[in-house]
């Protein structure tokens, strides 16, 4: 039977639905089964010893931005490796040479490695030592 290719995603949709149902079910079940005794301590902030005061939207360190930025860059780099890995076994027939595809990916990964080295040495990944060069 000729089926529309979109049906191949049905297992994926089912999995998402099951995940949602499990998470929602757990919250709902504990809400309905558990006892509710609302005391001041229970409704206060968890384990902080301090009542929440003011706006949660304070300024965060620029380090968060750096981490997110690096995440995007390495994420995009990783995305291009995946299709290469999928066809790795057939590379010699596609490129016509035995190791051409391999070395091309080594060069590409070289750029990733150089970027990682640069960021590392610059002290961007270092969150503890404030006297390092990447003093943010």
């Amino acid at each position: 039977m000729q089926t529309h290719y979109i049906w191949q995603y049905i297992p994926l949709v089912l999995q998402i639905l099951v995940a949602l149902a499990m998470a929602g079910g757990m919250v709902a079940a504990s809400f309905f089964i558990g006892k509710h005794k609302r005391t001041k301590v229970k409704l206060g902030a968890y384990e902080c010893g301090m009542d929440p005061v003011g706006d949660a939207r304070g300024r965060f360190s620029v380090k968060f931005y750096m981490v997110a930025m690096l995440f995007i860059l390495f994420d995009v780099e990783a995305v291009f490796i995946m299709p290469w890995a999928v066809i790795y076994r057939q590379l010699h027939t596609i490129t016509g040479q035995r190791l051409f595809g391999f070395w091309e990916m080594v060069v590409y990964l070289g750029f990733v490695a150089v970027g990682l080295f640069y960021v590392w040495k610059k002290g961007i990944l270092d969150w503890t030592n404030t006297s390092s060069r990447g003093d943010l």
Binding site: R59, D75, E77, E104, Y108, G115, Y118, L136
Partner: protein, 170 residues
């Protein structure tokens, strides 16, 4: 037009519309993420499997997080206070709407009058990870390497923007 396409297109348009009209920046970012999920769905409906999942991985995953962090770095409440309340018929919104309508009507007209070079009978070929991999290792092997250069330059740029210079520190 399949039902799947209609649903995902509605999510995409609804999400981006909400991203433009919400006042709270956090809501804007979350709506945008929803809109991007819709776009990913459209890609999947068109058979572009790899692009669809990449869209979710990079845009819904990473870019939305970056936007949230960028918002956290600024004084959020000050930013929302600075944004002037939008009026539906301000000069900028009307001119923006007219421009967009013009561009898209011309695009639609071009697409309507378009006749393909060779009448295609079969469905468009699926573009999964395998097909993309073949293209990346054959015709587009140089662009792949040069994307490495591009990302390296972007990395330096991110560091230069984020790290304060000597002058600023003192």
């Amino acid at each position: 037009m399949s039902l799947f396409f209609l649903i995902t297109a509605a999510i995409a348009i609804g999400g981006t519309l909400a991203a433009m009209t919400r006042r709270n920046p956090i809501h804007c970012i979350l709506s945008l993420a929803l809109g991007l999920v819709g776009v990913a769905g459209v890609y999947l409906a068109l058979g572009a499997q790899f692009v669809g999942f990449t869209q979710i991985l990079v845009y819904v995953g990473a870019v939305a997080i970056l936007a949230t962090f960028a918002l956290m770095m600024t004084q959020g409440h000050i930013v929302s206070a600075l944004i002037e309340p939008r009026r539906a018929f301000s000069r900028s919104s009307v001119s923006g709407f007219v421009t967009a309508a013009g561009v898209f009507s011309v695009l639609g007209w071009a697409a309507q009058s378009y006749r393909p070079l060779t009448p295609s009978t079969q469905q468009a070929p699926a573009a999964g990870a395998k097909e993309v991999g073949v293209a990346l290792m054959h015709t587009y092997v140089l662009p792949l390497e040069v994307i490495g250069v591009l990302l390296t330059a972007a990395l330096i740029g991110a560091v230069v923007i984020a790290l304060p210079s000597e002058e600023e520190r003192s």
